[in-house]
Amino acid sequence: MNATPNGAVLSAAGIHKRFGALVVLDDIDFAMGAEEAVGIVGPNGAGKTTLLSVLSGAYPPSAGTIAFKGDDVTALPATQRCRLGLVRTHQVPKPFGGMTVFENVFVAASHGAGLGRDEAYEEALGSLKLCGMLSIANRRAETLGLLDRKRLELARALAAKPTLLLLDEIGGGLTDGEAGELVETIRELRRRRIGIVWIEHIVHVLLQVAERLICMDAGKIIADGEPQAVMADPQVISAYLGGGPK
């Protein structure tokens, strides 16, 4: 079902994450190929965001190993993983509030992508344009509303020139029109051969992009594969309608 370990750009084996007595991730095995687009769904508290945080290096797993582009990155902090091309966005946006929209994105281009000044300008402007934020490039990020903050998360992550982008609910609260624009943006990223992992509750939006779907519940992957098959899986239905796999 998973991509073969040899062809995998990102693979995680035996991932556990505990916060005290609370087990949030319970033996996750996950692998994906370069340029793949994987959607992750699951009820609240399933451990989706925690999985993303562990993959991106925001915090270390309690057990297990993570490999990116063939190297073990389990011990590498987020800064280094970003520089290798593994970049995430945040579910609750974390803008640099005292800086302008452009400056937010410029930081990622010059430090995450490691670009020199002029190339970083170009990359930052390109990301803003792709996310439709050029017209508000000079606004202080703290003045942005939630939707623009989410867009900024995406633009900033893009400016770091990811080979694999981990998206955490960037589509929440969008109107149909806005969701359509977002899908177009993500499709453009796929044309640029960027791999995508996308956590989203709005499944019909997710399915326009994802070619593979993972469903998580209670810290485990309960289904993984072709999106329609996953959505029809009895375990997935039961996870959403209550009862749970236990």
């Binding site: 800064t79 945040h90 974390k94 800086m99 930081v107 402007l125 390109g126 017209s135 000079n138």
Partner: protein, 353 residues
């Protein structure tokens, strides 16, 4: 990519003339002693030291988010190492700067554990470091505990040579430190520093080396404040540990930065000037002076939380020594200082790459 036609602006016409203005002021200050009384020269030296202190604390707290109430540790060490070096036979003027380099070197190991602390813990932790260092310096026999000692070797120079040399050294130090700080904050490291201030986790997630960048700033601020402490010793001659390791120095830094405008390069300089004027006019009124300072700080933090310069910048779009970036957008090309560019979509480019 069709964004190539967009221009990133680092300054405004006002900021370019401000650069010329700054140069002119520094040149005028360099020849000013010819026209000033001895007392005025001493006061101006104090002003330069205040500017250094304010600029350094502002860089640390306003740009880097590292609020410390223990920066007097580097002020005191700057003076202490200068005493030690001069006592070992080094020329007293040379000692001042070698001392600051040592302060910078000492701040590096301190940063190893202090930068693991965040926010309030860091602020108070620095105060603890300062108190501890004060006690350690007291143990040095040369210092004779709280009795203190003097930079005796300066006495080989006659009073006016001494006064003028210290004045120029202070002016040169201030100019050089402000220039170093400005170029650091204006470069890509400066953008990383501000990003860390605003959100450390997010900064790490987009590839910013958080701890290394903080350390760079911390060591630079320690060095700058070390220079200030050594210069203060040169003007005062006497060294009593409790005067130099007094938390009042950090309180003054905080006052200058809050009143001037935290997080703006111009604000710290303006705040130092205001503090200097207040001290010059009211410094003789004893306890009322301190009460006035406290009341002013309180009023500013309640009524003008962005300080004088921050408020002016916000209201009028003034930017003289700006470290920021502006995208000159086609729709607003006529108004490059426009703060609030309309968020309405402005069909910037129609052609596709």
């Amino acid at each position: 990519m069709n964004t190539a036609s967009l221009v990133i602006e680092r300054g405004t016409p006002a900021s370019r003339s401000a650069g010329i203005g700054v140069l002119t002021i520094i040149l005028l200050l360099a020849i000013a002693p010819q026209f000033l009384s001895a007392g005025a020269v001493d006061r101006m030296t104090a002003l330069f030291i205040y500017v250094i202190l304010a600029a350094m604390w502002n860089a640390l707290a306003g740009f880097g988010g590292l609020v410390s109430v223990g920066q007097q540790v580097f002020f005191g060490l700057g003076a202490y190492f200068a005493i030690r070096l001069a006592n070992a036979g080094l020329n007293p003027f040379v000692s001042l700067f070698v001392s600051a380099v040592i302060v910078g070197a000492v701040s590096w190991p301190i940063s190893l554990f202090m930068l693991r602390l965040r926010n309030g813990e860091f602020a108070i932790g620095m105060w603890v470091i300062a108190a501890l260092t004060h006690l350690l310096v007291n143990l040095d026999r040369l210092i004779q505990g709280e009795t203190g000692t003097s930079l005796i070797s300066l006495n080989v120079y006659d009073a006016s040579t001494r006064r003028l040399t210290i004045y120029w050294l202070a002016l040169a130090s201030m100019t050089a430190l402000l220039a170093i700080l400005f170029s650091l904050l204006r470069g890509s490291t400066g953008a990383a520093i501000r990003a860390i201030r605003d959100n450390e986790d997010a900064a790490a997630s987009v590839g910013v080396r958080v701890t290394g960048t903080k350390r760079q700033l911390f060591v630079l601020a320690a060095f700058g404040i070390g220079v200030a402490g050594a210069l203060w010793l040169a003007t005062a001659i006497t060294f009593q540990p409790k005067t130099y390791f007094n938390v009042q120095w950090t309180a003054y830094m905080i006052f200058m930065v809050l009143v001037g405008g935290i997080g703006t390069f111009e604000g710290a300089i303006l705040g130092a000037l205001l503090f200097f004027l207040i001290e010059t006019w009211f410094g003789g009124t004893g306890v009322w002076y301190l009460i006035g300072l406290g009341a002013a700080a309180l009023a500013f933090s309640l009524l003008l939380p962005r300080g004088l310069w921050g408020t002016l910048e916000e209201r009028f779009g003034w930017r003289l020594l700006s470290v920021g970036y502006r995208v000159r957008l086609p729709a607003s090309a006529a108004d490059p200082t426009g703060e609030a560019i309309s968020p309405a979509p402005t069909a910037a480019h129609s052609e596709k790459a």
